[in-house]
C-alpha cells in the first residue's frame, strides 16, 4: 500500500514537472532573436481568425527586417480576451496593441495610457487618400485627445437588430402582400387584419424603404404589421423570435435596432449629438411623469397604451429627453408584447447559450421547431462558424451552410402606418460595437516594440488588409474602402454588405464633438453594457428589460427607470 502511494506521488510529481516544462518560450519563439509584438484581441464577435491571417502575412512580409540589434523578423503573439482587456491597469500589461470592443477609450487617452499613433493616419490608399480622410467623418474627433493627437483607431462595426430566416418566411409565406395584390388573403389575428401573400412569388408590399423589387419587399414596415406577422408565424408552427435563454440581455439587440429604425437616422443622431435634431418624445406632465392616452397601443393589447407625444429639438440643455423618445418606448413595448403573447421561442427561457440558440435557429425545422427571427448582433455568423455550428449544420441537414438563406432584417419604421411606394425611408443601422485599436503607451521608450507595433497597426489599416478583414469577418470598418458583395461565400454576408451600402449607420460618436458626449459617453452608450437598457423594478436592478418584464415590470416601468431627470442631467453639463 505504502509503495503504491509512493508510485502515485512520483507519477503526479512528474506530471507536474511536465506542466512546468511547458511554460517555456511562447509558441517556440526565441525573444532574444526575434521581435515579439503582443496583441490582445476581443475574443467574441468577429473573432480573431482574421487577425491570425493578417499576422501571418505581416510576419512573412517582415521576416528579414530587424527591429533591434541582433534580432531578425517579427512574431505577432495573439491573446484573445473579454471586455476586461481594456482597463486602467494596462500600463502594467504586457500587451502592446489592443483590438477591443465596447470600450470607452476617452478615460485611457486622458490618463496617458495610450500612445500617440497619429502617424498611422498618414498612410494612403491606391487613390492617394490618407487614412484620416477615409475614416468616417463623424467619428474622427473621438479618436483624438484634446491635444489634437490621435490615440485610437476605429475597429469594426456590428449592428444591433434581427436576422430572419428567409427560407422559413418563404415556406410559410410570411410576407405582407401589396395593397392591390390578388394573390393574397386577409389574415385576421387578435391584433388586427393583415393582407398576406398566398405564395412566395406573389406581389409583396414595398417594405420599409418604399421601393419595389428591393430586398425588404414584403417585410413589415410598421410594428403593427410585424406583430400580426408574429401571430401568423406562430399559427404556422414557427416560433417568431428567438434569443439565448442564458443571455436574456440579447434582447437589447432588438431594442437598439427598433429604436433606431423607428426613429430614423436624423433623429437617432440626437442621442449622441444633442445638436438641434428634432425628435418625437413622450410628453411629461408638470410632475415629470410620462403621459399616456387611454387608447391601446395595438388592437388586442390592453396593457400598453399609446403615449401623448410632442416633437422637440434636442440640445445639450435638454439632452435627457432622448430617453423619452417614443421610438424607444415602442421598442420596449414590442419586446414586452413578444414576451407576454408567447412570441419568444422555448430557447429564450431555457438554459440555452448564444451559439446554441444560433444553431437551433440555423437548423430550425430539422431538430427543433422552426424559428422566424433571431435577436443578435450582425457578427453572429462568424461567431457561429467559430463555435463549430456550421459543421453541426452540415451533419444535421447535409446541406451547404453558405447557401442557407438567412438575412439581416430591415426593421419597421413606424408604429402602425403602412409604408407606401415612394414614402419609405432609407434603412438605418446602429453600430453598437464601439470597437477600437490602440497601442499601449508603456512601450513609448522601447524603440523596438514601438516601431514594430506601429508598423503592424499600419499594416492592419492598409487598404489591402481592410479588404481582407471584411472578407474574413463579413464586418466593416468605418473607413472608406471597396469590397464587393461577391467576395462572400455566405448569403448572409452578401446580403448584409448590400444592405449596409444602402443604409445610414448611426455611429457611437458625436459629429459636433460636444462635451457631454466626450466626457459622459459611458452614461449614454447604446449597447449591451449600457445603462439605457437596464431597468429598476420593485427596488431591484435588472440587466435587461426582458428580465424586468419577467419580474412583472411593464415597458412603461422600464422606460421610467432609465430616464434622467433634469437635475441629473445638470451633472453632465
Amino acid at each position: 500500500m505504502r509503495k503504491t502511494k509512493k508510485i502515485v506521488a512520483l507519477v503526479m510529481g512528474l506530471l507536474m514537472s511536465c506542466s512546468f516544462a511547458a511554460c517555456g518560450d511562447k509558441g517556440g519563439v526565441n525573444r532574444n532573436k526575434t521581435t515579439v509584438v503582443e496583441v490582445a484581441v476581443h475574443q467574441g464577435g468577429v473573432g480573431y481568425v482574421w487577425l491570425q491571417n493578417a499576422a501571418r502575412r505581416f510576419e512573412e512580409a517582415n521576416q528579414d527586417k530587424s527591429y533591434a540589434t541582433g534580432k531578425t523578423g517579427v512574431k505577432i503573439e495573439i491573446t484573445p480576451g473579454g471586455t476586461a482587456l481594456a482597463n486602467q491597469a494596462m500600463d502594467s500589461d504586457s500587451y502592446n496593441i489592443y483590438l477591443v470592443e465596447r470600450t470607452d477609450t476617452y478615460p485611457f487617452i486622458a490618463s496617458g495610457l495610450l500612445m500617440d499613433i497619429s502617424e498611422v493616419l498618414e498612410i494612403t490608399d491606391s487613390n492617394g487618400k490618407t487614412l484620416e480622410e477615409r475614416i468616417n467623418p463623424s467619428i474622427r474627433s473621438m479618436l483624438k485627445g484634446n491635444d489634437g493627437k490621435t490615440y485610437v483607431l476605429p475597429g469594426w462595426e456590428f449592428y444591433s437588430g434581427v436576422s430572419y430566416d428567409k427560407e422559413t418566411f418563404d415556406t410559410v409565406g410570411s410576407y405582407v402582400a401589396d395593397y392591390d395584390s390578388t394573390d393574397a388573403f386577409e389574415y385576421e389575428s387578435d391584433y388586427g387584419t393583415l393582407k398576406i401573400v398566398e405564395y412566395t412569388g406573389a406581389k409583396k408590399s414595398c417594405g420599409p424603404d418604399g421601393k419595389y423589387n428591393t430586398d425588404d419587399d414584403g417585410l413589415p414596415s410598421s410594428l403593427e404589421e410585424m406583430l400580426i406577422l408574429c401571430s401568423y408565424l406562430k399559427k404556422e408552427g414557427v416560433e417568431p423570435f428567438t434569443l439565448p435563454g442564458s443571455w436574456p440581455g440579447y434582447c437589447k439587440y432588438l431594442l437598439a435596432g427598433l429604436w433606431t429604425s423607428l426613429s430614423g437616422y436624423d433623429s437617432m443622431k440626437a442621442v449622441y449629438n444633442f445638436g438641434g435634431e428634432t425628435v418625437e418624445i413622450i410628453k411629461s406632465d408638470e410632475h415629470g411623469e410620462l403621459m399616456f392616452t387611454n387608447e391601446n397601443l395595438f388592437e388586442g393589447i390592453d396593457y400598453l397604451k399609446k403615449p401623448v407625444t410632442e416633437r422637440v429639438q434636442i440640445t445639450t440643455e435638454n439632452g435627457y429627453l432622448t430617453n423619452d423618445m417614443t421610438a424607444k418606448y415602442y421598442a420596449a413595448a414590442f419586446l414586452e408584447i413578444l414576451e407576454r403573447e408567447g412570441f419568444l421561442s422555448r430557447d429564450a427561457s431555457n438554459a440555452v447559450g448564444h451559439t446554441d440558440a444560433q444553431i437551433n435557429f440555423l437548423t430550425g425545422g430539422t431538430e427543433t421547431t422552426r424559428k422566424g427571427m433571431i435577436m443578435e448582433g450582425s457578427y453572429w455568423w462568424v461567431e457561429s462558424e467559430m463555435a463549430g455550428n456550421f459543421e453541426d449544420y452540415q451533419i444535421l441537414t447535409d446541406k451547404d451552410i453558405n447557401a442557407r438563406d438567412i438575412r439581416w432584417m430591415s426593421l419597421p419604421t413606424s408604429l402602425n402606418e403602412k409604408t407606401t411606394e415612394g414614402n419609405g425611408e432609407k434603412n438605418t443601422l446602429i453600430d453598437t460595437c464601439f470597437s477600437s485599436c490602440y497601442v499601449n503607451n508603456n512601450i513609448k521608450n522601447n524603440e523596438e516594440l514601438k516601431t514594430a507595433s506601429i508598423d503592424f497597426v499600419k499594416f492592419l489599416y492598409s487598404e489591402e488588409e481592410l479588404v481582407n478583414f471584411t472578407k474574413d469577418t463579413g464586418s466593416f470598418r468605418p473607413i472608406e474602402y471597396e469590397v464587393s458583395s461577391d467576395s462572400f461565400k455566405s448569403v448572409f454576408y452578401r446580403e448584409l454588405t448590400e444592405l449596409r451600402q444602402n443604409s445610414n449607420v448611426v455611429q457611437f460618436a458625436a459629429e459636433n464633438n460636444n462635451d457631454i458626449f466626450r466626457y459622459h459617453r459611458g452614461a449614454l452608450k447604446i449597447e449591451l453594457g449600457g445603462s439605457v437598457f437596464t431597468a429598476n423594478y420593485a427596488g431591484k436592478p435588472f440587466d435587461s428589460y426582458l428580465l424586468a418584464y419577467r419580474a412583472g415590470a411593464t415597458a412603461i416601468d422600464a422606460i421610467e427607470s432609465t430616464r434622467f431627470t433634469p437635475e441629473e442631467w445638470k451633472t453632465f453639463l
Partner: protein
C-alpha cells in the same frame, strides 16, 4: 545569514505591498475625486485627469447605494447565517461521525472531500448543468412533470437564491469537514477513554469533550466567515457571468463593478445605476469595514470569554 535575511524579507515585502500599500491607497482613494481637466480649457490629451479632495462625498454616494440596493446586504447576510446555522453544525456532526469511524465513514470521507479536489469553477459548471438540464429531464421523463423555464440557474428565469445557497453550502462543506476532523483527530485518546469510563455517551462526548477541545478551530471559522460577509461572491459570477440578477451579494457587486468601472464616472450613472467609480468603491469598502470590523472583534472577544472551555 543572507538566507535568513531573505527569508524574513519576503513576508515583510509582502506585508508592505499587499497589506500596507493596498489599504493605505484604498483609504486615500476613498477621499479623492477624479475629474477630466476642465472641459473648457481644452488643453489635455494626456495626463488629463485631475484629482482633488472629495471630503465625504464618495461615502455619501456609497451609503446611498447601500441603502437603495439593500437586498445585496440581505443576500450577503443570509449566506453568512446559512453558513453558521447549517454548514458549520452539519460539518461538525459529520466530522465527529468520521472521527468515530462509524459505518461507511471512509466512503463519506471521499464523497465529502471530492468537491475540494475538483476546481470550484468546474464543480459550479457541473452543478449548473445538472440543475439546468438533467433535473428538468429527470422530472419530465420519470415523473411527467414539465419544469417551467427549465433553466433554474439561468439569469432570465428568476433564478432561485435557494439553489445558489445550496451550492455554496455544499461546496464549502468539504473544507469544514476536513478542518474539523483534523482538529478532532488531535484530541488525546485518553481523555475520550476516560469520559467513556465515566459513562459518557456519544452525544455527551461530542458536547462536553470534542466541541470544547476544538472550539478554537470552530471559532476561527465563524470569525473568518463574519469577516468575509461582505466579500463573499457566492459563486455568482460562475453561474451568471456578470449579468445582474437581483441575487447579488455585496462581494459580487464590488467585484463586478470594479471590473467595469473607471476613475471618472458620471455622477448620474453612480447615483442612478449604482455604477460607482474606483474612489466610490473604495469608500464603500471602508464603510463595510466600519460595519463589520467592530462586530468581528466583539465576537472574538465574546468567544474568548464565554465560549466552551476545555476545563
Amino acid at each position: 545569514m543572507l538566507f535568513y535575511v531573505l527569508v524574513c524579507l519576503l513576508p515583510v515585502i509582502q506585508f508592505c505591498i499587499f497589506t500596507f500599500y493596498v489599504n493605505f491607497n484604498s483609504i486615500k482613494m476613498a477621499f479623492e475625486t477624479y475629474n477630466y481637466a476642465s472641459a473648457s480649457n481644452n488643453n489635455f490629451g494626456v495626463d488629463g485627469i485631475v484629482k482633488s479632495f472629495a471630503g465625504f462625498k464618495n461615502f455619501k454616494i456609497a451609503w446611498q447605494t447601500l441603502i437603495e440596493r439593500n437586498y445585496m446586504f440581505k443576500n450577503s447576510l443570509w449566506l453568512f447565517i446559512s453558513n453558521i446555522v447549517i454548514t458549520i453544525p452539519l460539518a461538525l456532526i459529520f466530522s465527529f461521525y468520521l472521527c468515530k469511524k462509524c459505518m461507511f465513514s471512509g466512503f463519506f470521507k471521499v464523497i465529502l472531500y471530492m468537491p475540494n479536489i475538483v476546481s470550484p469553477m468546474i464543480f459550479a459548471l457541473l452543478f449548473q448543468r445538472v440543475i439546468n438540464l438533467v433535473y428538468p429531464e429527470i422530472m419530465e421523463q420519470w415523473f411527467g412533470k414539465t419544469i417551467s423555464g427549465s433553466g433554474l440557474l439561468v439569469t432570465g428565469n428568476n433564478p432561485s437564491y435557494g439553489i445558489v445557497l445550496f451550492f455554496n453550502i455544499w461546496v464549502s462543506f468539504g473544507v469544514n469537514v476536513l478542518m474539523f476532523s483534523g482538529a478532532m483527530s488531535g484530541i488525546n485518546a485518553s481523555v475520550i477513554e476516560s469520559s467513556h469510563l465515566d459513562g459518557a455517551n456519544l452525544v455527551q462526548e461530542f458536547w462536553y469533550i470534542t466541541l470544547p477541545m476544538i472550539f478554537s478551530t470552530v471559532s476561527t471559522f465563524i470569525i473568518l466567515a463574519m469577516a468575509g460577509i461582505f466579500t463573499n461572491q457566492m459563486h455568482l459570477f460562475t453561474f451568471f457571468s456578470g449579468e445582474i440578477t437581483g441575487l447579488e451579494t455585496l462581494g459580487y457587486y464590488i467585484y463586478l463593478t470594479a471590473q467595469k468601472t473607471d476613475y471618472v464616472v458620471s455622477e448620474a450613472l453612480a447615483t442612478k445605476f449604482a455604477f460607482l467609480s474606483y474612489p466610490q468603491l473604495a469608500a464603500l469598502g471602508l464603510l463595510l469595514t466600519c460595519i463589520i470590523a467592530p462586530i468581528t472583534f466583539l465576537t472574538r472577544k465574546l468567544f474568548d470569554k464565554y465560549g466552551p472551555s476545555e476545563d
